[in-house]
């Protein structure tokens, strides 16, 4: 499993993703600078890391999506390569149209950095196959603009197509208003594209993938990807590609 981590100007979780993929999972990973195009064939997984690309000026992710590397990301997505956008990476995927909807400022207008509980919405994806559907996991969030918005039809579609990967929930898995840290529609914390090869999520699995950090719930996400790519996952092969 070889990963590319795209470095946008202002990315700041690129090193964290690199660390998890290479040190914790022991898999090869490379940084790709936003000014470079790359060949989708060279990588199995493309990570759009968190941070503040272009300072989040104008709108989070709005400027980054025009970078040359994103052209390659679009092509790779089309070819069914796995794309994982975390936090700012999710915002970029939305702006680029690879995922539906948009992000707004958190409803209390404050940046939120703390652990949240997530209910796994679907285990039927390359990213979540090691989780159980409905399983509750803990992950840190750290964002000021994680208030997911989409019109009702889109939300309905995401639900009916089983594309909501994670919901903000309480410790017991109840998807309540109180457990929603930012005002996201339907408590959405992460969604898949139609082909299920693109995942965008606000919480940071790379920040909770090691015991020393007190929580390794996020490691399963990266391991799911590995399982999938090595053909061992219970979900078999998705979509085209």
């Amino acid at each position: 499993m070889k990963s590319a981590i795209i470095v946008f100007p202002g990315s700041n979780c690129d090193g964290d993703c690199f660390h998890v993929l290479s040190e914790v999972l022991g898999q090869p990973a490379e940084y790709v600078f936003h000014k470079e195009k790359f060949s989708a064939g060279d990588f199995d997984l493309i990570v759009l890391p968190g941070g503040f690309s272009y300072g989040d000026y104008l709108r989070a992710g709005a400027i980054a999506r025009f970078s040359p590397a994103m052209e390659s990301v679009l092509k790779a997505a089309e070819r069914g390569k796995l794309i994982l956008g975390i936090c700012n990476g999710f915002q970029i995927l939305l702006e680029a149209g690879l995922l539906p909807g948009a992000m707004m400022k958190n409803r209390d207008l404050k940046f939120h950095c703390h652990d949240v509980y997530l209910k796994v919405g679907t285990a039927d994806s390359p990213f979540t196959n090691l989780y159980l559907p409905g399983e509750v996991v803990k992950m840190p969030v750290a964002h000021g603009q994680g208030n997911y918005y989409a019109d009702e039809d889109t939300i309905e579609r995401l639900k009916s197509e089983n594309r909501i990967a994670f919901y903000y929930s309480d410790e017991k898995g109840r998807v309540t208003e109180k457990a929603n840290p930012n005002g996201s529609a339907a408590n959405i914390a992460g969604i898949l594209n139609e082909g299920r090869n693109v995942l965008g999520m606000m919480p940071h699995p790379e920040r909770c993938a090691e015991e020393i950090l007190g929580n390794a719930d996020g490691k399963k996400l990266f391991k799911s990807i590995l399982e999938y790519l090595e053909g061992r996952s219970k979900i078999g092969k998705i979509g085209r590609s």
Binding site: L58, R59, A62, I63, F66, L94, E95, P100, G101, A102, M104, K105, N106, R107, D108, L109, N147, Y149, A150, G183
Partner: protein, 83 residues
């Protein structure tokens, strides 16, 4: 040189957290604000061949970058700037 004043606002029906907060604060200060919407006002000075050309350019800017069609509407005015 042309100068465009571009106004980007949330679509009708999108709940604007910043507007809601300001409304709360205004009412707390004793004003009777019924509705508050916060948008962006972006002023761009640009080169273009003509006013028409400038208008086309500004529209493209808005569609490509300045407004997010999922959430936002935009409107603008363009005027020629004398140096």
């Amino acid at each position: 040189m042309f100068k465009a004043k571009i106004n980007v606002q949330f679509k009708e029906g999108v709940l604007d957290p910043q507007g809601a907060a300001i409304k709360g604060a205004l009412n707390h200060l004793g004003f009777e604000a019924e509705d508050v919407r916060v948008g962006k006002m972006i002023e761009v000075k640009l080169k273009a061949a003509s006013l028409e050309d400038a208008r086309t350019k500004v529209r493209t800017m808005c569609e490509k970058l300045l407004a997010n069609p999922v959430l936002e509407d935009y409107s603008f005015e363009v005027a020629e700037e004398s140096l």
